[in-house]
């Protein structure tokens, strides 16, 4: 019991705030996906298509992260890895913010294609996986780096476990994202 309390105290001490993204940064990430979806929705051709494409970007990217992020954190604790949970959350949120920033940057291009062609839904089908892959890659690099910083001892074994965990999480996120996309698009 005392040992458990010590572990808890240690963990709590490690999990000091590490500078999570500011609410404005998160809002910008959300805005990016909303703007991208809205730009594609305008090119959908009818109200049904607009309702379909509008929320797709946000649902797929944010939804898969929300659904799988907790699993990553739980798995991390279960495997007794060293990085503070807040740092892992920071890595995940920063990856989301970065993906959202890219979506926001692409929104004018999609609006242009919506205005001048019927290509925007097809382009979104190409861009969304690319944006998601970038976010996952960014998160993976950050997560492994966080563990490397925390794992001074037994670094090789811990890093191997962390890489395995992150690989599994990426696979799960891709599958969940694909399922959400299929659900949204196919109904």
């Amino acid at each position: 019991m005392e040992a458990a309390a010590e572990v808890w105290t240690e963990t709590a001490a490690e999990e000091s705030p590490t500078g999570l993204p500011a609410p404005s940064e998160l809002a910008r990430g959300v805005l990016g996906f909303v703007a991208l979806g809205a730009a594609v929705a305008l090119g959908s051709g009818d109200a049904q298509g607009a309702a379909l494409h509008g929320p797709t970007a946000l649902l797929v990217d944010a939804g898969s992260l929300v659904l799988t992020g907790p699993a990553l954190l739980v798995g991390h604790q279960f495997l007794d890895l060293g990085a503070p949970v807040t740092r892992l959350a920071d890595d995940l949120l920063r990856a989301f913010v970065r993906s959202g920033g890219m979506a926001l940057g692409l929104a004018p291009v999609f609006l242009y294609f919506s205005a001048t062609s019927g290509l925007s839904p097809a382009l979104m089908a190409l861009a969304l996986p690319a944006i998601g892959a970038l976010g996952l890659a960014h998160a993976a690099v950050g997560l492994v780096a966080s563990e490397r910083d925390a794992a001074a001892d037994h670094a090789v074994a811990r890093l191997a476990k962390m890489r395995l965990l992150v690989s599994g999480w990426i696979l799960l996120t891709v599958l969940v994202g694909a399922r959400i996309a299929a659900r949204v698009v196919l109904g």
Partner: protein, 183 residues
Amino acid sequence: MIAYVQPGLAAVLGVAYLATGGAVAWSLYRKDPSPAVVAGALVAWPVFLPLLGAPPARPRLGGPLQGRIHEVFGALERTLADPVAAGVPWDADVGGLRDALLASDARLGLADRLLAETGGDAGLREARERAASAIGGVLDEVVQLRLQIGLAALAGDEGAIRAHLAALLARVRALDEVTRIHG
């Protein structure tokens, strides 16, 4: 619904573009009432957006050689930024030389404005020509200095460059005093 509104939508987007351009142009006009900037912002406002956060434009006090001074010193700074030329603390010397030249050039600009407004007299005109020629001479030397840096990178004679730079600085300070007296 979207399918049936395209002509109106095009007009709305066009008006929105121009209205945004108008807002950007008005905002810039309050900082810098330059007709070119205002007209440009009206038509091509997206590239003027970074200017909105800039401080108000300073009145143009530069002289006729300001552009060449910036060009010559820009090239010199890029040469100095080369890793091969690194490690020599001459940034401050170069900055001082440029500032002194710009100050002399600004006085040249004042002389030009006075000559344009009043017709001027022969003495001022002669002094102006002398100062312009001296500034031009120093700029030519700065170009030579750049080549000398290339030689120093190969032969390693940094002392000569420093001496050249110091001599130029002394020349410009003397010129500065002369233009101060005449200007």
